[in-house]
Amino acid sequence: MTNIRLDAAELRRVAELALGDLEFDYRPKLLDISEALAPNADVMSDRHAGYIYGPGGIGAHHDHCVGKMIEFFDNLDAGLIAVTNVLASVSEDFTETDVDSETSISTIMQYFTPPPSS
């Protein structure tokens, strides 16, 4: 570790790169995967004739898992944006000179806390 305290430009550049990976690579592929995981509407119509989607109960459980999985990765998407935003906000709010005196753990924790809804 060098004596760098805060390189604001680099911090923002990292945020831009992370957001670029998220938007240009991660999200398009995740969208395709989500469409492939979603049950086919045609199958939904007659799936109860089979065992897996009938008395077996596996199909219903898998549909539930798919829904949770899509929700889970949506949350991951939100978390990645959250970290990106925090890095960009820190690069805006602090400079190399005041990073020691003004940034504290509680201060940065507030960056991850949503404001109270009015």
Binding site: L6, V14, A36, L80, I81, A82, T84, Q110
Partner: protein
């Protein structure tokens, strides 16, 4: 429960069930492939975001970064769990599809066999006369046995699919990373990774502009581009050079030109390997190859020590010098005469200070600069005594009786 549901169905009903399941196998296979893609995507993006965060932490040293590290660990843990869940669900769907396909194959065989039996029964109504099961006989007994075989096969299928479900098919669990981040005043523009960032740089007076990429040289028509561009070599070929040896340990230099590498020896490296990079931190710098000193070494092996040229001590080359290659002690100067066996009397006369000579040479001999190998005395042992006229032998003891002293010796003092 499922097995009880099978009890009320015969072969035809179970065949219809397995057909309905089998129709969905391509979708399960597609979903399993999607899960595998999701696993790879999560692993890849987890690696990328980890690299980005590490880069950010390299440029932000503060106790407050522990908060970002903690929140990032939640993202990493969620990524890990998502990967495990997706890969597990892929395995489960593949196992279910395999079980359905196998059950479909077996039920098709049972159904075909029963159709053949029915056809035989239509031709000969007495075919099933000897059949009896559970109190029924004839055709009904035969049909009941095929229905039971179909139920048993469906039961096996249900066990396999249920086991795959309970073993590998799971929900990903709750997400444990951050869900909110303070929105910056200037929206972050996503970068495509070209190097100049995504948008306008508002926090630093300098914006890095990458140099224009150098186009590769045009390749010959039909030739594949080289995987590794060779490093340009000097005209004389690759030479690993050593720094100028100082008065260091274990190096005995002598007159003579710098030897050229022998044509016999390891072949030079191919141009693909290029010139080995210098390591000034290790040797303290490079020197021209014409400087006298250690023999020029070629990469890929050590050069053999040529006769008459400079040589190194055995500790360097790992071999003892031959007798022909030894430098005779007399050729050494007075300052380099350590180790020569001398007549003590001559040594006393040649060196000013008499007794100080031995002390000074002892200090020279035992100094750390000469501790890297055998002492020169050991190297010249047995050679220097018979070598040449410069080696001064100790004179034999003078016990010659003087005849002219005889009478005097025989003179007996007169007693007074």
């Amino acid at each position: 429960m499922a097995e009880q549901w099978f009890e009320g169905n015969g072969l035809d009903e179970l065949a219809a069930i397995i057909d309905a399941d089998y129709a969905q196998v391509p979708i399960w296979r597609s979903q399993a492939a999607a899960y595998r893609k999701l696993t790879e995507l999560a692993e890849l993006h987890h690696s990328k975001i980890t690299g980005h965060l590490q880069r950010a932490m390299d440029h932000w040293s503060s106790r407050a970064t522990s908060v970002v590290r903690y929140e990032s660990s939640g993202i990493a843990e969620s990524f890990q769990r998502g990967m495990l869940t997706a890969s597990g669900n892929a395995r489960a769907l593949d196992a279910i599809a395999d079980a359905i396909e196998a059950a479909k194959t077996d039920l098709d065989e049972i159904r075909a066999e029963w159709a053949a039996m029915k056809a035989a029964y239509e031709k000969d109504p007495h075919v099933f006369d000897n059949y009896a099961i559970d109190g029924v006989t004839g055709f009904q007994a035969a049909k009941a046995s095929y229905d039971q075989a179909a139920r048993d096969r469906m039961h096996t299928m249900s066990v396999e699919t249920t086991q795959a479900w309970h073993t590998d098919m799971h929900e990903p669990g709750p997400y444990t990373g951050p869900t909110y981040g303070n929105v910056p005043r200037v929206p972050v523009t996503p970068s495509d990774g070209s190097g100049s960032g995504g948008g306008r740089d508002i926090t630093y007076p300098f914006t890095y502009t990458p140099p224009p990429p150098t186009p590769p040289p045009p390749a010959a028509a039909g030739a594949d581009p080289p995987l590794l561009t060779p490093t340009p070599r000097p005209p004389d070929g690759p030479q690993l050079e050593f720094p100028t040896p100082g008065p260091g340990p274990g190096v005995i230099t002598g007159p003579g030109p710098v030897p050229t590498p022998s044509p016999v020896g390891p072949a030079p490296l191919s141009p693909m390997h290029g010139t080995p990079p210098p390591n000034p931190g290790l040797f303290g710098g490079m020197r021209p190859s014409a400087t006298p000193g250690l023999p020029v070494q070629r990469p890929g092996g050590m050069s053999p020590a040529p006769a008459g040229g400079p040589r190194t001590s055995p500790s360097v080359l790992g071999q003892r010098p031959t007798q022909a290659g030894l430098t005779r002690p007399a050729a050494a100067s007075a300052a380099n005469d350590r180790g020569v066996i001398r007549n003590p009397r001559q040594a006393a006369t040649n060196n000013a200070g008499g007794g100080q000579r031995g002390r000074a040479q002892d200090e020279d001999r035992y100094s750390p600069a000469h501790r890297d190998g055998p002492e020169t005395d050991e190297l010249f042992e047995g050679l220097a005594l018979d070598a040449g006229p410069d080696v001064v032998r100790p004179e034999p003891p003078t016990k010659v009786r003087r005849r002219d002293a005889g009478p005097a010796l025989r003179r007996v003092p007169r007693k007074s």
